[in-house]
């Protein structure tokens, strides 16, 4: 996260997106740096049959879609608001200017990319070599450790729909529903009022 005041010094603009609205599309060139003020954004891919894969979900104070700003490549995925969201947008040129003029910020960016890479490494190994139960638990525990998932008296609330869980782990909804039930029977998590707690 970059300080809002600093971004605004480089002409950042606030922009609102309705739920389901597309922020940018796969294979397009990157034109802006985006940081979330409020709401949530997912980055995703669709295969030829329309099956979705969610690369990640981002929340307030997080940025997303930076890598192509530094490469001569297009976006590897789409970005879409999962709730009504307010974003700070800053043009590629201004963003690169900001970084070169504020070297400390680049360490910041490195940390953000390093974190994201860490998540991708963990999930890649998970998706390729583990069964559905292991995959779900890993996703839940990772989300609890590194995202802003809240703890209440039932445990940590996994604030994701079954469909989203499936699309984050490469499983179908039905499999997620069945696996969650099995995990509940095994005592690995709780289902209260259809919500998952860990």
């Amino acid at each position: 996260m970059i300080e809002i005041e600093l971004l605004e010094k480089y002409d950042a603009v606030r922009k609102c997106y309705k739920k389901s609205e597309i922020i940018f599309e796969i294979d397009h060139l990157a034109t802006h740096y985006y940081q979330i003020i409020s709401g949530a954004v997912k980055m995703n891919n669709y295969n030829d049959e329309g099956r979705e894969f969610i690369q990640g979900i981002f929340y307030a104070n997080q940025s997303f879609g930076e890598p192509p700003l530094f490469l001569d490549r297009t976006y590897p995925a789409n970005a879409e608001a999962v709730e009504d969201s307010e974003l700070l947008c800053i043009s590629k040129n201004n963003f690169l200017k900001l970084i070169t003029e504020n070297p400390a910020i680049s360490i910041n960016i490195i940390e953000i990319l390093a974190q994201r890479l860490h998540y991708k490494s963990v999930m890649a190994a998970e998706i390729s070599t583990h069964d559905s139960e292991h995959r779900l638990l890993q996703l839940f525990d990772y989300s609890i450790s590194y995202l802003n998932f809240k703890k209440d008296n039932n445990g940590y609330a996994i604030d994701l729909t079954r469909q989203q869980i499936g699309n984050l782990t490469g499983l179908r909804v039905e499999t997620v529903i069945r696996t969650i039930k099995t995990l509940e029977k095994k005592g690995e998590l709780k289902i209260i009022n259809r919500k998952v707690y860990r």
Copy 2:
């Protein structure tokens, strides 16, 4: 890649690793920055049954395992030499010093991480939503575009064993062998003397 002279100014040390030798292990803290002078290194994970997943293979002039240097986290995977290799190693402290004293280098690091993130995004979507034929072609085409795979008169040589291909895509060797044969029949690639060309 960071200039060797610059690394040596910060007390980088040359170190040789035999094929199959471990460079660092999963869950350990990061102590050094590593850059390959010659040879090749893979980063991998094993599941409980010993199945391997290869996060990536790195060649001369590439670095690997940087993210945990910037985070308070351990390595998400192991690093192992796939051939006899010579590496340049520089301690975490010296490396961080190098970066802060040479702001231009941090842009360099950002680009490296951005590239790696791009690969992971593409492969993650591939592994979770596409069938084996699609996965293999994607891996081959990505490797050709972004790695140093050489073209000869048969086409681009895919310099990976069937086992490595499987461990990079989350498929078993037998499946890889069968899929490659199918792809050959479909004219998507050539098998000459057991080697794959695209």
